[in-house]
């Protein structure tokens, strides 16, 4: 879950010379000086990792076809590719979890350990997974020594002292006596990295480390990673966010269809060239979409909708044919607002209407019946029933339409699922295929298919492209766009600029308040600034296209959005939650 950043007072490691701190910049996607990159280590040393001719076949599928990869000491090497390109298999091979059919792996010039000698692999390479491999109820000190506790009586004092030394050595500011549960996501990652380093590993594989982090967390993580690189630690960085690749990495290797198609320095590589290497086709210009005709009648409306501790009374109006973005970082209340619309949370006050009719708040069945379809933020936590098939996952919301008298006829369910599979181009062996066997992008399509199964009048999607590759991203966003074009409306809640680009207009939320409204054509910097509660740089009055860019962009007869909170208005007298800061509570409250 997002939004678990550590308390700000605990952090002293970021804000170093290599990057802006989380509070002084406009987030990870804007304005980071690209020159803050330390060069890779001494070129004469043997590479931290060298893999040559790696080939791996699973049954009929060739997962890796003669892949070659070299990571030098102190280098941050990005590994990118679409879901299914072979990244995970390559990482499994490089960390000793999967034995390649052919090919060699060497670390620091020496051949890799025997397959199966887990301890020896651990001393050379470590993988920090998306899902934390720490034990939440043990202390940091114990986690650092996990599996390597001394024989005989454990001297807790000495253990903690040793842990403190290790953490200090790597500049990780975490209390060794704290329990992992109490730490932020990126702090857990630091602990995992520190653990790997104490085992002697000088190569760390980071498998989508930022997927569960908010902007400030990403900043802290990157600051830490840069510091470690300066000490000769090499990173293999896997991410779907090309922006992060550009920010952090020196070199990038692109995998496509089990082959390595490109290895090049990041510096000279444009985003389009990278996308082209990943997909094998020229990227469509991710331009802002031109406004499409006048919006239709109002479909979704909220009046003074509020939830204590999450968002202040909000008046929204979304019209047929519109895609509206709700942009806000973790803790902004944007997700809570979406969950309230979906009926998952009971609001403290106000009302929701769809097509003029009030919706009973706090009840998912009523929201569904009113025509609100919902795509939850985290497909693993709230989206998929992992034990069941694609068909069952897709038809979960339409149980009442698949047979008479409360029955579900398997033939109809299959037929329905097959239609959705075709409509959304879900790559699955069939309706009966287990949903866990699908790639991330296709799993996300299943979640969206479920939301669309009832042909909603309003589609509420929270981070609909979370953790999917660039091609699936386009497909998913295209689906959302088509829903609106077909006469419904959509609300996208996200802090991903790519998600928001397809919107007709974007509202920004900061600490539970709507701080601004942007018509299509906004500039990245100003939107990010509004999301972070900052004044837009230069307080732009007019965007390049001559369109009003800020504040005054309400559509004809649009929602009575309050004017932006004012460029420099600090969130001091925040009425939302003076005691409990929303960013500390969002996501943890039931």
């Amino acid at each position: 879950m997002r939004g678990r950043g550590g308390p700000p007072g605990e952090r002293t490691t970021s804000g170093g010379p290599s990057g802006p701190g989380p509070d002084d910049g406009a987030g990870p996607h804007a304005g980071r000086p690209p020159g803050a990159r330390t060069g890779p280590g001494n070129p004469g040393a043997p590479p931290a990792l060298h893999a040559e001719g790696i080939r791996k076949r699973f049954g009929p599928t060739l997962a890796l076809d003669g892949v070659r990869l070299t990571v030098r000491p102190g280098e941050a090497h990005a590994l990118v590719g679409r879901n299914g390109a072979g990244k995970s298999t390559l990482v499994s091979v490089l960390t000793g979890l999967v034995r390649p059919d052919t090919g060699t792996v060497s670390f620091a010039g020496r051949a890799a350990p025997r397959f199966g000698d887990a301890a020896a692999w651990q001393r050379r390479v470590a993988c920090v997974h998306q899902r934390s491999m720490t034990v939440p109820d043990l202390t940091v000190a114990e986690n650092l020594h996990l599996g390597h506790l001394p024989r005989g009586r454990i001297r807790w004092q000495a253990l903690r002292a040793r842990a403190r030394e290790v953490l200090a050595e790597y500049g990780v500011d975490v209390d060794p006596a704290a329990r992992i549960r109490e730490l932020g996501v990126e702090q857990r990652q630091f602990v995992e990295i520190a653990r790997a380093l104490t085992h002697g590993a000088r190569l760390i594989v980071l498998d989508e480390p930022t997927a569960r982090l908010d902007a400030a967390g990403i900043d802290r993580l990157f600051t830490e990673l840069r510091a470690l690189r300066a000490r000769g630690v090499a990173f293999l960085f896997i991410s779907h966010h090309l922006q992060e690749v550009h920010e952090l990495c020196d070199t990038v290797t692109v995998l496509r269809d089990a082959r390595r198609v490109l290895t090049a320095p990041v510096a000279g590589l444009s985003r389009d060239a990278l996308v082209e290497a990943m997909t094998g086709e020229r990227p469509g210009t991710a331009a802002h979409r031109p406004p499409s005709g006048p919006p239709g009648p109002e479909v979704l409306r909220t009046e003074r909708l509020a939830l204590d501790g999450h968002f202040a009374p909000a008046d929204l109006a979304v019209r047929a044919g519109e895609v509206v973005g709700l942009a806000g970082a973790a803790g902004s209340g944007a997700t809570a607002l979406a969950e309230t619309l979906a009926g998952l949370r009971a609001p403290g006050g106000g009302r929701i209407t769809v097509g003029g009719r009030p919706v009973r708040a706090g009840s998912v069945p009523h929201a569904l019946a009113a025509g609100i379809g919902y795509v939850p933020e985290d497909r693993h936590r709230e989206g998929l029933i992992a034990t069941r098939s694609v068909a069952e996952n897709v038809t979960l919301t339409v149980g009442d339409q698949l047979g008479p008298g409360g029955t579900v006829l398997p033939s109809r369910a299959r037929e329905f699922a097959r239609r959705m599979i075709t409509a959304l181009d879900i790559k699955a062996a069939g309706p009966a295929a287990p949903v866990t066997g699908l790639s991330g992008g296709n799993q996300q399509k299943v979640v969206i298919a479920r939301a669309l199964a009832r042909e909603p009048r309003v589609l509420v999607a929270v981070r609909p492209t979370n953790g999917v590759d660039i091609k699936s991203k386009e497909a998913l966003l295209g689906t959302v766009r088509r829903v609106a074009d077909a006469g419904a409306c959509a609300l996208i809640v996200s802090d991903e600029l790519d998600d928001l680009r397809i919107c007709d207009r974007v509202l920004t939320l900061f600490r539970g308040r709507v701080t601004g409204e942007f018509a299509a054509g906004w500039r990245d910097g100003e939107l990010v600034a509004a999301m972070e509660g900052m004044a837009p740089p230069g307080a732009a009055v007019e965007a390049p296209g001559g369109r009003p860019a800020h504040g005054a962009a309400a559509p004809p007869a649009g929602p009575p959005v309050r004017p932006a909170a004012g460029p420099a208005a600090p969130p001091v007298g925040d009425p939302v939650a003076p005691a409990a800061r929303p960013d500390a509570t969002e996501g943890t409250a039931p």
Binding site: K56, F58, G59, P60, T61, L62, A63, N83, G84, G86, S88, T89, V91, S92, T95, L97, V98, C127, H129, Q130, D257, A258, A342, G343, L344, V364, P365, A367, Y374, P376, R381, E382, G383, L384, I385, A386, T387, R388, E392, L396, T397, G399, L402, G406, T407, V408, L409, P410, K427, A428, A429, G430, A432, P434, T436, G437, L438, S439, N442, R450
Partner: protein
């Protein structure tokens, strides 16, 4: 998660090229994985004793399976929806005792009841008590949000104690004829209890497979948050399932009482282990969201056959408890490998 992601990741590169025949998954046969075990047990029984393959013996095995079977049916529904209820083994004893206590004559030589209600109400009363116990479990687990395992373990002990207190630790005989009928009657040459049990399993299986609320149980057990986000009333459904579980346990109590003609003070004592063992051997996941009632039924039959074969083989009674536990563990190991997947 690299290690688990690797095979699907690889598979995802050429999903459309996978031949259609491969969609017949081994999982489809998982429900039948105990059928060969049952056949093997039959052969062993036939070798061990000529009395095994007689009609009387087989009918006896099946009838003894009915009471355990109904408990397993209730527990399976609860497990599939991601909860557990240990108190079922006390409900099977307490529900009949409470019903009889309310209807039995206030003056008699053995057990004195309150005689508040006419004798014919004993069966509905018993079922109502079972459902009420399930509802209390639901209140503890869903409203007070206490740990379900400990809460129902507490209920198990408390209800057993309540039964002992009400019945003064004695067996209750002379039950009303309406109460004894179902457990003792024979329809078409087979005990009525067997027909009823089969019918209930069939009804349960059909509900799980073909009713939207039945399908929803799998969703609730597999991922309650996703089920809630998809508009399923998770708490209400769980509550109903817990009540149905109690109801089935009470019904098992009626059959058991009719079968033996009396409510024994230790009715159901120690059964919960067998109930869980049968469910898990039958492929029901203790984590919820997985398993079928057919599998659970084969689990029950397997356990009962093992006990029967042991009895026929003349195992000394002092050793049956040890062997019973050991054989359940062996059966678990076998079904773990026969069923393919991990048991959880």
């Amino acid at each position: 998660m690299t290690e688990t992601a690797a095979p699907p990741d690889a598979g995802a590169t050429t999903p459309s090229s996978a031949p259609r025949a491969r969609t017949v998954r081994p999982g489809r046969w998982r429900d039948f994985s105990l059928v060969p075990v049952i056949l093997v047990l039959g052969v062993i029984g036939f070798i061990v004793s000529p009395a095994f393959l007689t009609r009387d013996n087989l009918v006896g095995v099946v009838q003894q399976s009915t009471e355990l079977g109904l408990l397993v049916l209730g527990e399976a529904l609860i497990l599939i929806s991601g909860r557990m209820d240990l108190s079922l083994e006390s409900t099977i004893g307490l529900a009949p005792v409470v019903a009889l206590w309310l209807v039995m004559p206030a003056h008699g030589d053995r057990f004195t009841g309150l005689e508040l209600l006419p004798a014919w109400t004993a069966v509905p009363l018993c079922l109502a008590v079972g459902a009420a116990i399930g509802t209390v479990n639901g209140f503890l687990i869903l409203t007070l949000r206490v740990n379900g395992f400990i809460a129902t373990l507490g209920m198990l002990t408390a209800l057993r104690g309540l039964q002992v207190g009400l019945s003064e630790g004695r067996s209750i005989g002379d039950v009303p004829p309406s109460f004894a009928y179902l457990g003792g009657a024979t329809w078409l040459g087979v005990p009525a209890a067997v027909w009823i049990c089969l019918a209930l399993f069939a009804a349960g299986g059909a509900a799980l497979g073909y009713l939207r609320h039945g399908r929803a149980l799998y969703a609730v057990g597999g991922n309650p948050e996703a089920a809630r986000a998809a508009g399923i009333r998770v708490d209400r459904l769980t509550w109903i399932v817990l009540a149905v579980g109690g109801l089935l346990a009470a019904f098992a109590g009626i059959l058991y009482t009719g079968h033996y003609g009396a409510v024994s003070a230790s009715q159901g004592n120690g059964w919960i282990f067998q109930v869980f063992a049968a469910a898990v051997i039958g492929g029901i996941s203790l984590k919820g969201g997985r398993g079928t009632l057919f599998g659970a039924l084969t689990g029950v039959l397997t356990l009962q056959l093992v006990i029967n074969v042991m009895t026929l083989a003349g195992v000394p009674p002092l050793w049956t408890q040890f062997l019973n536990g050991a054989i359940i563990i062996v059966a678990l190991v076998i079904s773990r490998f026969a069923g393919g997947g991990k048991q959880d």
